[in-house]
């Protein structure tokens, strides 16, 4: 007896109902409608905008960037006077944004890691103090923290002639912090070369040490060698060239300090506020990352006889970093974006300079476009860098 299976060829799955119920047809229809509405809205907006610009006598385009700026900025990393162009002013703002973002990121990371590890401390007092720090700074707007430093703390510091003197000839007053400015004399370039050579040598030394350890198991005292190189070589160069670097020390004059370098209160308050604010978030990320490494990992390391310090360095931290890096990236981006709050206290960052230009020229669309492009590319660059770092740290699976 054979069981015959007769397969009647099913009719090709044709929609039973009308074409209206076909999901594909519907999808195309919805998309066509969306595109049509979008095109209509964009056309309407463009039409209105052209009309409005014509009436306000504003020429569109980026020609205005070559015009004379005519305003001063408080702090600039590149040469700038009020006679410079708008384009140069925007560059000043861009570099100021970068400056506060980079310094802020470094400080926030350091504070954040300390507080985050403190949150996990067995010491009750340290854990509670870290918790208090996180809960206070996480729940207050960053703008308020900026104003707190700017008009609450730095503005009530003494007048310049009564500056508070700190060690190393650093002076603190309500116009900022003044510190000795290094003056590079003849021959100081050799010191710089020596430093570069030391960095390159350290890099190769590290590679050599790793290869040697992988091949023979012998460890090389890398940290001390590198430190010695980085400090020793420039020091030798300094001695050989007869100490060309001197310091211009700020001196208290009758009304103001003269000499030295001054960091204004605008930068200081923005930098302090962003660092303290972002550090609270970084601390929580660090805590979650370390908690995310299962306890079995460190127990296994202890069972193998690895010392506690080495366990942390070689077992826990590398695995925690995998959890920490992605959210850390978005915190870095947040800090960069929050640096735009500079406009509230008059630190000349990209948004503040752009805002001034916008008020002077009325080129709203162009200025906003520049903002969007700059911030988007900053975001993308940071993400790319951190993704590369993350890929290096990621789990290598077979």
């Amino acid at each position: 007896m054979t069981i015959g299976v007769t397969t009647t060829p099913e009719p090709k799955s044709k929609p039973s109902g009308s074409i209206i119920n076909d999901p594909q047809v519907r999808g195309i229809f919805y998309q066509v409608v969306t595109v049509a509405i979008l095109v209509a809205v964009v056309y309407w907006i463009a039409d209105n905008t052209i009309e409005n610009l014509k009436r306000a006598n504003i020429a569109s385009g980026y020609g205005f960037l070559n015009g004379r700026a005519g305003f001063d900025v408080g702090q600039s990393l590149i040469a700038y006077t009020s006679d410079s162009t708008y384009g140069r002013a925007l560059f000043v703002g861009f570099f100021n944004t970068l400056l506060v973002a980079v310094t802020g990121i470094i400080t926030a990371t350091i504070i954040g890691f300390i507080v985050g590890i403190g949150r996990l401390s067995h010491n009750w007092l340290i854990a509670k103090l870290s918790l208090a720090y996180v809960e206070v700074f996480r729940n207050i707007p960053p703008l308020l923290v900026i104003f707190f430093w700017y008009s609450g703390v730095l503005a009530v510091l003494p007048q310049p002639r009564e500056s508070a003197a700190l060690p190393f000839n650093i002076f603190l007053n309500n116009r900022g912090i003044a510190f000795p400015k290094p003056v590079f004399g003849d021959g100081s370039q050799y010191v710089f070369y020596a430093f570069v050579i030391a960095v390159i040598a350290s890099f190769f030394m590290a590679r050599h040490a790793r290869k040697k350890q992988e091949a023979t198991g012998q460890r090389f005292p890398l940290l001390w060698t590198v430190l010695g190189l980085l400090i020793g070589l420039p020091l030798l160069a300094l001695l050989a060239t007869g100490w060309p670097i001197t310091f211009d020390i700020p001196v208290a004059g009758k009304f103001n300090l003269t000499g030295g370098s001054v960091i204004g209160p605008e930068f200081l308050s923005l930098f302090l506020a962003l660092s303290f604010y972002t550090a609270a978030f970084i601390a929580e990320i660090v805590r979650a990352g370390i908690r995310g490494v299962s306890k079995g990992q460190s127990e296994a390391a202890h069972a193998l006889g690895v010392r506690p310090g080495l366990t942390t360095r070689l077992v826990v931290v590398p695995q925690a970093m995998r959890i920490i890096i992605p959210p850390l990236t978005s915190q870095y981006l947040n800090l960069t974006k929050n640096s735009s709050l500079a406009i509230a206290i008059g630190y000349a960052d990209l948004v503040a300079v752009g805002g001034t230009i916008l008020n002077q020229t009325g080129q709203a669309i162009e200025v906003v476009t520049i903002w969007i492009i700059v911030y988007l590319s900053l975001s993308l660059t940071t993400s790319l860098l951190m993704n590369w770092f993350n890929a290096r740290m990621a789990l290598v699976e077979r």
Binding site: V136, N139, L143, F147, V153, V156, I343, I365, V368
Partner: protein, 385 residues
């Protein structure tokens, strides 16, 4: 009976063992939590010293030396500064906060009309409180009251102009009222809009997916302040001549759009965490797309991302302080505006005002984060080990 008398049997009583290490009481707690190791002990002592150095002056400044009452800058300034306090005095100027308290709440809203925002505020608390307590019944009715009736009432009462109520234009609004209106509307708009954007980003229709992705990524890539500038400077350019938008409304649109992009990413995280089987199960039951989303996917996805949603709310609440940069007077804006009041200008006025504003912001944000933790535990249906 057979007994062995081996020499392994003790012939004398052993000494009584020392009492076990105490596992309770203050001394044990101190040793375990504060002085477990020499390093711990050192850290504890350093922290205690720092606290002893910080806290007494802070308490002195905030409470003991503070000027609590008074009618002008005199009580907050030293004799040298033209006030009545002794030279070298420094303390918080709560008299300033006290005198300006109504302004901090309502801004420059006309004094005779302040009962209107106050009434809206009381109704808000009345409708919100039962909504927040899981055990209170009639949640649907409550939601309608909070999300439909209250906004309509607020729309009638706050600007006025109807039913014989005098019209109060939005530039006069200010203080905590503006902060709360902005965040309430922002929250109410950004959650549904964010869900739509997240669904759009996961859509199979390429055009919709691309549009949503571009919107989300651009908005998330730029600071809120540029979005607010766009709303306040570019929006008028986009509209035909003669059509003007209220500045307050423009800020509302900017804040809501900004928050919805962040909300979309949070919701997308939840959507991705729902297993494929749930989608396929819904499909095999013959549910339509919206039925599938509303009945199966979103209830699970949103529950998963409650912490993220509340974090976005908290971020939104804090971000409303940025509207003071485009010339509106929210809580922070009105506090700063009052620094320039000649009647109250003194060295300690700004810091006192900022501490007060910071405390209010902190109270709201901390409350929200605590409530989210509570909700997470209530909604948690998993079996925790």
């Amino acid at each position: 009976m057979n007994t062995h008398q081996g020499n392994f049997v003790r012939t004398s009583m052993i000494e009584a063992a020392p009492a076990p290490i105490q596992t309770g009481g203050i001394a044990y707690w101190l040793r375990k939590n504060l002085f477990a190791t020499p390093k711990d002990a050192a850290l504890t002592i350093i922290s205690l010293l720092v606290l002893a150095w910080l806290i007494p002056p802070a308490v002195q400044w905030l409470f003991i030396d503070a000027a609590w009452t008074g009618g002008g800058r005199g009580v907050c300034a030293t004799v040298a500064q033209g006030g009545s306090q002794p030279d070298g005095w420094s303390g918080a100027c709560w008299a300033f906060v006290n005198a300006k308290f109504d302004q901090f709440l309502f801004g420059r809203y006309p004094i005779d009309e302040r009962w209107r925002p106050a009434l809206v505020g009381i109704l808000f608390v009345l409708f919100l409180t039962p909504m927040l307590i899981p055990k209170v019944p009639y949640k649907n009715l409550n939601a309608i009251l909070l999300l439909v009736v209250l906004p309509i009432l607020a729309l009638i009462l706050l600007p006025g102009g109807w039913f014989g109520l005098p019209f109060v234009e939005t530039p006069l609004w200010g203080g905590l009222m503006v902060t709360l209106v902005l965040s309430f509307v922002g929250i109410a708009v950004s959650l549904p809009l964010g869900i739509l954007l997240a669904l759009g980003r996961r859509s199979t229709m390429p055009v919709i997916k691309m549009l949503c992705t571009v919107f989300i990524e651009i908005v998330r890539g730029i600071p809120l302040i540029t979005v607010l500038f766009m709303a306040s400077v570019m929006l008028p350019l986009f509209l035909p001549q003669g059509v003007t938008f209220d500045k307050f409304l423009r800020a509302l649109i900017g804040v809501s759009l900004f928050a919805s992009a962040y909300m979309a990413e949070v919701v997308r995280g939840g959507l991705q965490a729902i297993g494929k089987g749930q989608y396929e199960g819904a499909d095999s039951l013959g549910l339509s797309f919206w039925q599938k989303m509303n009945l199966i996917v979103l209830p699970q996805a949103l529950k998963l991302v409650i912490p993220g949603i509340v974090n976005t709310f908290i971020g939104l609440f804090k971000d409303t302080s940025l509207v003071s940069i485009i010339g509106m007077f929210d809580l922070l804006g009105i506090v700063r505006l009052n620094f320039s009041d000649a009647n109250w200008a003194s060295a300690v006025t700004p810091i006192s005002g900022l501490i007060f504003a910071g405390f209010i912001f902190w109270l709201f944000c901390f409350g929200m984060s605590r409530y989210s933790g509570f909700m997470e535990r209530v909604l948690d249906t998993s079996h925790k080990r």
